[in-house]
């Protein structure tokens, strides 16, 4: 039998083996995906506070802008929105403040993961004033499990986040927030997450809760803070220190 397998393998061209080698992990990664971006429960994400904005619906802004575009000699392609803000700083050294912030976030988070997005879908918020994205995020490392609904046996979760692109009847719309840059597929993120019971998805606690792998350090994704170096926020030191942080939660 052993000899027969050996003969069989020798008769398979190397290209086929290589193709098989590539194909197996790809199929395996799809097979492990448990989250579904088309799940009707995810519609609840449209109503969370993080996705709401004041003002008129985006469709109304598109109509208004389209009406004025011609008089300004602009070829109509829709609107690209950028949301800027006034960052907060502290009179104390920022690293000291941030270490306290992240200790608090470790305690407040329902789940803490290191993971990478593999797919996304964008939607209009329930108020119609904003665009948000649902992302399937593959879990590379689970650092804090959700006590209300364990994700220990899951290979991925849905993370919802403001910002995204949509093609609407009134025109195309892109929304980018400096506080919440969009997650990039196959980039590794460290995330302090809050559970959304209605949808079963997760959201960043706030604009400082998402860090991106930048060489051997974890950098804050929020624009304006990405250059701030936080002591101990290196890979894999931060991951290793989370369990210690959790023991000091009250």
């Amino acid at each position: 039998m052993k000899g027969r397998i050996s003969i069989y393998l020798r008769s398979i061209p190397l290209a086929w083996l290589l193709a098989l080698g590539v194909a197996v992990p790809t199929i395996a990664s799809f097979a492990q995906t448990t989250s579904n971006l088309a799940d009707p429960k995810l519609k609840a994400n449209a109503s969370i506070a993080q996705h709401d904005r004041p003002g008129p619906p985006i469709t109304q802004l598109l109509v208004e802008a389209h009406a004025k575009a011609q008089s300004r000699g602009v070829s109509w392609k829709g609107l690209d929105f950028v949301v800027t803000d006034t960052p907060a700083a502290s009179p104390a050294p920022i690293e000291t403040v941030l270490l306290q912030v992240y200790q608090k976030q470790a305690c407040q988070a329902d789940a803490i993961i290191v993971g990478h997005p593999i797919a996304s879908a964008y939607h209009l918020s329930s108020s119609g004033t904003s665009v948000y994205g649902d992302y399937i995020v593959a879990i590379d490392t689970l650092l804090k499990d959700n006590q209300a609904s364990s994700i220990r046996l899951r290979s991925d979760i849905i993370v919802t986040r403001p910002g995204g692109s949509l093609s609407l009847p009134e025109g195309n719309v892109n929304l980018e927030l400096l506080a919440f840059p969009r997650l990039q597929v196959n980039v590794t993120y460290f995330q302090y997450l809050r559970y959304i019971q209605q949808s079963g998805a997760y959201q960043a606690i706030d604009d400082l809760s998402t860090l991106v792998a930048d060489g051997n350090r974890w950098a804050i994704t929020r624009k304006g803070f990405s250059n701030v170096v936080i002591p101990g926020f290196t890979r894999p030191s931060l991951e290793a220190s989370i369990s210690k942080s959790l023991t000091s939660c009250k």
């Binding site: 904005r53 004041p54 003002g55 802008a65 929105f81 950028v82 907060a88 920022i94 195309n172 304006g224």
Partner: protein, 221 residues
């Protein structure tokens, strides 16, 4: 010798990256549209999830906001070459809202933000809306506003100055670590961060002032 040169080059790069004047630029601004930009204080619209819509006039912060627009109009006529004039009216493309946050945990954490809509594929601003999140607590953990303090109205004006700056083609000043107030030079730019409640450290230029700081004027477009 070569190593020394490399270190010197690195220091030079770090110095350039961390330079704060002129203020960093964005690719977009009102330029390309009409020279007169209209602004208004409309109602904030649909029922909110974690805030109450407020009237800017009833709150008594309307004069602070008008003062910021006047500062920019003066700067654009006298201190820089954009020529943009801001006028208060109704049905305007630049909307200003005030909200009182009812749930500081779930609600936005910024003191104020601005949603800037550009004509797709261009660098021209078509619409903008600035929102003040009164009662918000920022991500660093302290209250953005103290309406009872003497510097409250000055802070509202500074915030509006900062947010108008975003529509005038300038970006947030870079932050550095190891020092208070993100290491920014206090008073040098309206694009500095707000440092402490009501910007108690006066990291942003103190109001009232005529026009805007030179570092900002050099960069607006």
């Amino acid at each position: 010798m070569r190593t020394l040169a490399q270190i010197f080059s690195l220091l030079l790069i770090v110095t350039v990256v961390r330079a704060e004047c002129p203020t960093p630029q964005t690719y977009y601004s009102w330029t390309g549209g009409p020279n007169v930009v209209l602004y208004e204080f409309p109602s904030a619209g649909p029922p909110p999830t974690c805030w109450n819509n407020e009237s800017i006039t009833a709150l008594g912060i309307d004069s602070d906001i008008h003062a910021a627009f006047q500062q920019w109009t003066y700067a654009n006529q006298q201190q820089n070459t954009t020529g943009i004039v801001f006028n208060f009216t109704q049905q305007a493309p630049f909307r200003v809202y005030a909200l009182s946050v009812t749930d500081p945990v779930s609600c936005p954490h910024s003191a104020a933000d601005t949603m800037i809509g550009l004509y797709g594929g261009t660098s021209t601003v078509a619409v903008a809306s600035t929102t003040f999140y009164l009662g918000s607590i920022n991500s660093l953990g302290f209250a953005n506003f103290d309406p009872t303090a003497d510097n409250y109205h000055s802070f509202i004006q500074k915030l509006m100055d900062h947010e108008i700056g975003h529509t005038m083609g300038i970006f947030d000043q870079p932050g550095t670590d190891g020092v208070p107030c993100l290491g920014q030079t206090a008073g040098e730019s309206y694009m500095n961060a707000a440092c402490g409640t009501n910007d108690s450290a006066n990291n942003m230029p103190v109001t009232p002032m005529l026009g805007i700081p030179d570092c900002d004027n050099v960069s607006v477009h």
